[in-house]
Amino acid sequence: MNRFCVKVLVLIALGGSLLPALLGAGSRQSSLGTKSAAPAQDLTALKSAGSREAPITIEVFSDYQCPQCRVFYLDTARQLMQTYIPAGKVYYVHRDFPLSMHSHSREAARWANAAAMAGVFQSTEETLYSKQDQWGSTGKIEDTLASALSPADMKKVRAIEATQGAQIDAAIARDMALGESRGVNGTPSIYVFHKGQMTPLPPGGVNYSLLKQYIDYLLQQR
């Protein structure tokens, strides 16, 4: 009986120590998967907001240095995310489409992808658009982000940006290839997916009030 109790206690102790280790290994596996997997890894989910099960998906191909993208983000996208994402109505997907005419937009996209991998994409996107004038003229993207993110987050973003360059470039290239396959030639280019149908919105950004009317109309069609 005593020996049996000892065996049970040993098993419990082993289980107690092994289980967290196994779970930890699992989570480490997934975090490794996020940070250092092969270039085939898709960063889309990390650059998105809301539930993938939402009835409407809005995909926006944008360039961080494009003034119309800034206006769209600040005047429309933010309100859209505040209104429809907590309600589970919209899944908002950011796609990178840095235009060659903007000298710092690719670098900004690299930082944004690094921030996505560090789990701070939303605040980075907000900073890049709201302070576009600041870094757009000087090219000091890192300094601009450092002034907005916490030192710990910035440290993570810097480390990822320095070590995961190939993966970040592959993610940007993948977004651009997708955009080109759809005929995107300017930003912002916005696509609305509803009931399996893709509808491109007129290029050049969209007024929030008009977009809201359209989304509400689509939601009524369920």
Binding site: M198, L201, P202, G204, V206, N207, S209, L210, Y214, L218
Partner: protein, 167 residues
Amino acid sequence: MSQASSIAMERPRTRSKVGFFLIAARIVLGLVFVYAAYAKLHFNGTWHLRDYYFLFAMGIDSYRMLPLVIVEWMARILPWLELGLGALLVVGAGVRWVGLVVSALLVIFMVALAHAALGGLEINCGCFGNSSVKPSRELMLDAGLLALALAVSVGGFLSHRARKSQA
């Protein structure tokens, strides 16, 4: 005698050439307007009779010229107006007045397109739905259409006056 008769023969021939050109211009113009309406109401492979307005309103608003209330009204009305005017031109009803309205409409479109082109707006003109081209290129097409519309309208007024004087 023979010279006089050849002149007399020449006039109707010239008139018929002009008349043929005006009929062709009216039909081409009408078809372009009908197609413009069709492209706004039918896209992505299906009719959008209930929701065409949302996307077209976004297109008009991208010109950043008009308050939202007017944008919304224009988006509701314009495709049907284009369809009506185009159909009237094709069947040849009220040609001189329809030609004038179409000319006025084209002038308005051209002002908007020039505003977009000069302002460097990277937008799709929205004139033919999703298959539209850049404002600067559409401006040239509209200039050609305006010439046709004015010719149709002026031709319509002249032939109307000729018929009246004959009566």
